[in-house]
């Protein structure tokens, strides 16, 4: 066993700290290639290694972070990739003590990989494979992939190392304050994907300092048995008085996080930017003798997209695998694909996601086209249209590999059979790309007649997969549906086989359902009954049409009955709002109305952005409440809560706008009543304009809507409005506040002019400013008030009047 893996079981291993910052301290200029020093000034690099070895690092890392051919090419050093990497390993080995492990650092290429960028996956893979093989030949003990901001690039690097070397590998991603990577992956999804590909240790480095990273590691540890690693940076860099970059956090403070990291489950700990040998010395003192937390193997089946995971198990709802991205039997679809148009792929993806699909099957079975190219385009299109995990449905090996390369996440391969030729073709790819695989219970002799025989095929698939290093949770089984009209006696064998698979193998099961009714009239009658039977027997994920209401209803009802829908909440969510025809209509409405206060309902309607029901609710409320109360106790608290949710990031702009539309509708109904009663109260009067010369008014419009909805009377002068016009309107209207928007530095000075002029002509009028280039500092300087979004603007305006 590799000595790294051996020690990992028993010890907390301490990595080294920053290389880049240390080299910089020793004179490397910003903009120089740090890896070139391996050749030009080896003594500097080695002295950094030495300082970390002396400080007590168990693992030191080679100066090869930017050592891929792609990255070195930026300095015209691509042709020295071998010398630079080999020399780097020698320098580290020269500094290492006998028990010091040497890890090779591998960092990003600087290119954004397809589908998000335009750099081919294969090209990144090749560069990482080249570097990894050089490093292995030079004798490193392990590879450390670091600072990856895109899951797809991390996949490329990790697959390359696993495929072309025998080295253990740590894979670190970098997360932002949102606790997602730059391209939108959360730690839990990342760990699922990287674990499936075979990372030995998974971690996070750099970015937000130890505090933020602790949160990332804690999230990771909730849901995994993977070994974890962390390399925090010494806080966010700052500039000192000499304009030199400094990292604010001292060694002692950084080290104080170590016990929490260990409690959160890490096995390996080091430092990133700004961390020093002193930090490593204190860290080693702190962790010496401590043991890593025990890990329990987690054997749940999980698929993932770039940004979400779907768990498939008996404890979770039955998952719908959407079958509609499939041109077979659909002439228009086939025709489009032949002509290179993927419009229907995109439409079908969105439609199924909208209908509640959990996973999307992608089948591009069109004759006479480049299957691999089409599969690549199709999975890219689907990933752009939705965030759902993907099933790659093909028997063409090139298409399968193209799909596997371009799916960001952990897909399901549909499918492998019990035939040796199929197993030996598909399973190596599943292993290489970390995909789950769907096994069909058929072999060289066709589909077995009995459930018992189908179980035997499933056992063979599991055994072969395990030989390839694919663990059981990554195998799903389809016991195959035959048309009931042709082989009626075999229907129950399919159902029985599901039961056997569950009892004997405990695997997740999948079934294409609709084939059962082939050749029969009223197919949905048979399909829904069969689906219910299969779910009762233990089916976890039917392949079906999620837009078929009958099928979806049967699934929800079945899930409720087999207790996979606790308290029936999904069933009730879907159907509780609908009228039940078996009951007299009045009773239901009356009951519903009594159950909830009309003002609470209005509050909820605003919160949910439900335009359809707002007017009904307002009318009902008007029977018991004056219009003013409806506003002050229903609508305003509703929009306030929306604003709070927007502030905390639970809602984003569309929800703010949907709530605003509901408010507008409500006001259109209530305003005439208020005017009649002459009880209209305004929270204050505001003049709004985008300043002269500036034509951008989206931001201003959003702020306006929010102010209006909070009871302010607004006079909107539009965009490109002169200073004089703004000021004279404000005076004429007796306004409390002028709100000004400017997007560019060239138009921003109008704000200052208006504010100064007002000091003479209207000193009581307050000025609020906002826009892309406007800062709080600027606002303070010119004597105006600042807010950086619509919700803040409302709060500010409320304070000012």
């Amino acid at each position: 066993m590799n000595r790294f893996l051996e020690r990992l079981e028993e010890e907390i291993l301490v990595l080294d700290g920053a290389m880049g910052t240390e080299l910089h301290n020793k004179g490397l200029e910003v903009g120089e290639c740090p890896e070139k020093l391996n050749l030009d000034q080896p003594e500097i690099v080695q002295s950094v290694h030495q300082s970390y070895v002396e400080a007590g690092s168990d693992i030191i890392q080679t100066n090869t972070f930017g050592g891929t051919r792609i990255k070195l090419n930026e300095y015209d050093l691509g042709n020295q990739v071998k010398e630079i990497n080999t020399q780097a390993v020698k320098l580290a080995q020269g500094a290492a003590k006998e028990d010091t492990l040497v890890a090779a650092s591998m960092g990003p290429t600087g290119k954004l990989i397809e589908p998000m960028g335009d750099f081919p996956f294969q090209a990144a893979y090749t560069a990482f494979a080249e570097q990894a093989q050089i490093l292995e030949a030079a004798g490193v003990d392990l590879i450390n992939i670091e600072t990856m901001t895109d899951l797809q690039e991390a996949r490329a690097a990790l697959i390359a190392v696993k495929e072309t070397t025998d080295l253990p590998v740590i894979c670190h991603l970098t997360y932002e304050d949102s606790l997602k990577t730059m391209t939108g992956t959360d730690p839990v999804t990342a760990i699922e994907v990287l674990d499936a590909i075979g990372a030995d240790v998974i971690g996070a480095n750099c970015s937000m300092g130890p505090e933020g990273l602790l949160e990332v590691i804690q999230k990771m540890n909730q849901d995994t048995s993977a070994r974890l690693s962390v390399e925090p940076n010494a806080g966010l860099p700052e500039l000192d008085e000499n304009n030199e970059t400094i990292f604010p956090m001292q060694a002692q403070e950084m080290v104080s996080y170590a016990p929490q990291f260990i409690a959160a489950g890490i096995n390996v700990i080091g430092g990133c930017c700004g961390s020093t040998p002193e930090y490593i010395r204190q860290l080693q003192d702190k962790v010496k003798g401590l043991k890593p937390q025990p890990k329990e193997k987690d054997s749940t089946t999980v698929l993932a997209s770039r940004s979400q995971r779907v768990t498939i198990s008996d404890q979770h709802p039955t998952r719908m695998i959407g079958e509609r991205i499939n041109p077979s039997g659909r002439d228009k679809f086939s025709e489009q694909l032949k002509n290179g148009s993927l419009e229907l792929v995109s439409t079908e993806a969105s439609k199924q996601a909208q209908a509640g699909a959990d996973i999307l099957d992608v089948n591009m079975g069109v004759p006479e086209v480049d299957q691999a190219q089409l599969m690549k385009q199709a999975v890219t299109t689907v990933q752009n249209a939705t965030d759902l995990p993907i099933t790659i449905d093909t028997t063409n090996q090139e298409a399968l590999e193209a799909g596997l390369q371009n799916v960001v996440g952990k897909p399901l391969i549909n499918s492998v059979t019990g035939e040796d030729s199929s197993l030996n073709k598909v399973l190596p790819l599943a292993k290489k790309y970390g995909a789950a695989v769907l096994g069909l219970t058929l072999d060289e002799d066709g589909i077995p007649d009995t459930a018992q025989q189908r179980l035997e095929v499933a056992k063979k698939i599991v055994a072969t997969a395990e030989d390839y290093g694919i663990s059981k949770e990554n195998i799903l089984i389809d016991t195959l549906t035959l048309a009931a009209s042709a082989e009626q006696e075999k229907v129950l064998e399919t159902i029985k086989a599901i039961r056997l698979i569950k009892e004997e193998l405990g695997l997740a099961t999948v079934l294409g359902v609709s084939n059962i009714s082939y050749g029969l009239p009223e197919r949905h009658q048979v399909n829904t009954s069969f689906l219910a039977m299969a779910i009762e027997a233990g089916l976890n994920a039917p392949i079906m049409d999620p837009t078929d209401e009958n099928m979806k209803s049967a699934l929800l009802a079945s899930d409720f009955l087999v207790n996979r829908d606790p308290a029936g909440s999904r069933y009730l969510d879907e159907f509780a709002g609908q009228e039940d025809n078996s009951k007299p209509e009045e009773t239901t409405t009356a009951q519903e109305d009594e159950s909830q206060d009309p003002l609470d309902k209005i509050h909820a309607t605003v919160l949910n952005g439900d335009q359809e029901n707002i007017l009904n609710h307002i009318e009902l409320a008007l029977e018991n409440y004056p219009a003013l109360d409806i506003i002050n106790e229903g609508l305003i608290p509703g929009i306030k809560e929306v604003g709070d949710k927007y502030d905390e990031g639970t809602y984003f702009l569309p929800q703010l706008m949907m709530a605003a539309e509901v408010m507008k509708k409500a006001f259109s109904k209530l305003r005439p009543i208020l005017e009649e009663q002459q009880s209209q109260e305004s929270a204050g009067k505001i003049i709004m304009a985008t300043v002269k010369g500036d034509v951008h008014d989206i931001g201003k419009n959003i702020v306006k809507v929010m102010l209006e909805n909070n009871g302010f009377a607004i006079v909107d002068l539009g965009k490109d409005v002169s200073n004089d016009q703004i000021i004279s309107s404000a005076l004429d209207e007796n306004a409390d506040i002028i709100c000004l928007s400017a997007l560019m530095t060239t138009t921003m000075p109008r704000m200052k002019e208006i504010t100064q002029k007002l000091k003479e002509v209207g000193p009581d009028i307050k000025v609020m400013v906002g826009g892309a280039v406007v800062t709080e500092e600027y606002a303070n300087n010119i004597g105006a008030h600042y807010s950086d979004n619509a919700v803040q603007a409302v709060k500010k305006a409320q304070k000012l009047v």
Binding site: S350, T650, Y651
Partner: protein
Amino acid sequence: MEQLNPTISKPEVKRQLGYQEHTVSNPQIEELITEAINEAQEIIKPRGNYLRFENITIQADKLSLGQNDLSFYSQDIAELLANQKQVVILAVTIGPQLEERVNQLFADDQLTKATILDAVGSIAVEETANKLQTQIEAEAEEIGLPSLTMRYSPGYGDLDLDIQPQLLKLVQGQELGIKCNDSFLLIPQKSITALIGLGTEESTVQPQCDFDCANCDYDTCIYK
């Protein structure tokens, strides 16, 4: 000009609209975003053009490109182009149709749709510029200048907006349907002009650092 039709990524649009880790979207919004992307694909008219200058003359902060085709003052651009062999200026737009539609939607109180479509437009024009940049990269590769600097637009750093009319004239902005107003703002709003330096080695000039490393495009930074 070859195909500039941008691929509009839904996750990018969502981020533009403020989507974060813990934001909870819903099917209705997802559908609206998908519809807006589809609608945008129908109505936008992505166009772009670029022009390459073989000569760069720099004296302190005074720059002259080509045979004095464009001259202006900017310390930031002087630094950007210091080691570059050639320079490209470019302009792209997605046409006025999308923003007209956004304005109409706002006027009709269709606030959600308007806001989403506007965000889609912002992503679309960025992507159009990226598409054009791919063509520039290919040409740069051919002439042996494979390293491109960042894309630097007027309004950034000390590059004043008042250079817009000259830039537009050179890249035939009029033909593309791009104008600028008296404050030097581009019309249609969803348009971009920029300079890119071409050289043999990676430019060491970085945008002013705010130490938002995770978001930074500057990938040769020593602070790994």
